[in-house]
Symmetry: none
Subunit: 129 residues, 4 copies
DNA sequence: GTGGTCTAGACCACG
DNA sequence: GTGGTCTAGACCACA
């Protein structure tokens, strides 16, 4: 895995280190990162995205505490062996539930009917493929 | 409008005052709050949601600066008269664009196909109606 | 609670921030810190022990992620409301198990009989009372 | 002495080379390793525990610097001839003092009375005999 | 080469 | 006043 798998938006309100942890969570749940896969080194990620190594290190540390990653001393971080390579679709969908709930609430506040929202999302989901 | 129209989640990562401003923005754009409508007093909102009055005041202040609200001496805040009662559907949809983009990116990281995501969102959008 | 409740040994091999988290874990389990109790501010602890505020902040952040503490925005940290005020004796004893296992293994390697080890520990446990 | 006398926990927070040195210290102090006894080769230990030979080598080097081991050309490492076969009980007990102090402090933080701690330790010390 | 810890200091967000 | 984030840089520990 190379550093480009991670995306970082320094302008976002969400802190960078949290963005990284959240992405790792999803990439592992989705199977793009499988148990045992090596992660790019702290310095690599930091250099690639022009951020401070400690910020990356902090993200890796939290991911380790959460059981997502394991440290191999002297070598680097790998995806934890206890992680199933990929989770079921319904479990992955559950990870999106909070955002979906929020979106639905906001659409309601905007008095938006379902149809245009769904149409727009369909378009966006297709784009990535 | 009474204080119960606003929803506040003190535990959320999003700061309370920002939650309030964002909701006002949507309720006005959606037409649930029309030009000239009176808003509940700072004290009322704060009491109802058990939050700090200064937090509500800050939200109102920002909404005023944004041109959403107007201060009417002796009467409190009202929805700005310059506000069209309701915006076009496409303008309202545009307010959801950032969240939609984010959702699409996350679905991709989770390797989720479009279909189950759309199905779930359809369900949630229907519930509120 | 004042800053003196926490002990910090900068010379130890265990990192300071980890020492703090471990102590919080025990003080809460033991009931010396009850749900809702306010913690000394980051700056207070840092000043008292002459360490960097960020080190303390890091400890508090981890304790929060672990569910030990809760952040009250603008006010400070308090012991999480979900924490039972005090755990049963056997649960607290379980927290010592790893150290006890280690101690027993080392005594065995030293070919030390049980009696002098227990005598010494009895003395030390009594001292604190 | 064969490689199985050493216990190694690669997952532990304590670095492996330090685990080895500490064990050698205790095994020699306790008399299980007597002056002149040959140690398993670096390669043997590394293979047996599936760890890096350099790690074992480092441990042996430190033990030699500490006067625990001696290098005998062509024969490998042996327990130093200057080592008394076994130290007095009180000297061996002194090696446990730091852990005992730590344990006592932690029991106090957990508000644990002496009795259950001693009872549990008695059990564990007995098991190994 | 890897990650980890700590510091000093700046700046922000929240109440 | 509270905590949070990020940076720059030093130094350590491990393999």
């Amino acid at each position: 895995m190379d550093a480009s798998l991670l995306t970082v938006q320094p302008a976002s309100a969400e802190p960078i280190y949290r963005q990284i942890v959240a992405q790792l969570r999803r990439l592992i749940a989705g199977g793009q990162l499988a148990a045992g896969d090596a992660l790019p080194s702290v310095r690599e990620v930091a250099g690639f995205h022009a951020i401070n190594p400690m910020t990356v290190s902090r993200a890796y540390g939290l991911a380790e505490a959460e059981g997502l990653l394991e440290r191999q001393r002297g070598k680097g971080m790998v995806v934890a062996s206890t992680r199933k390579s990929s989770q079921t679709e319904s479990r992955r969908l559950a990870l999106l539930e909070p955002q979906l709930l929020d979106l639905a609430r906001q659409a309601r506040e905007l008095e938006l009917p379902a149809e245009p929202v769904l149409r727009r999302l369909t378009k966006l989901l297709g784009d990535g493929t």
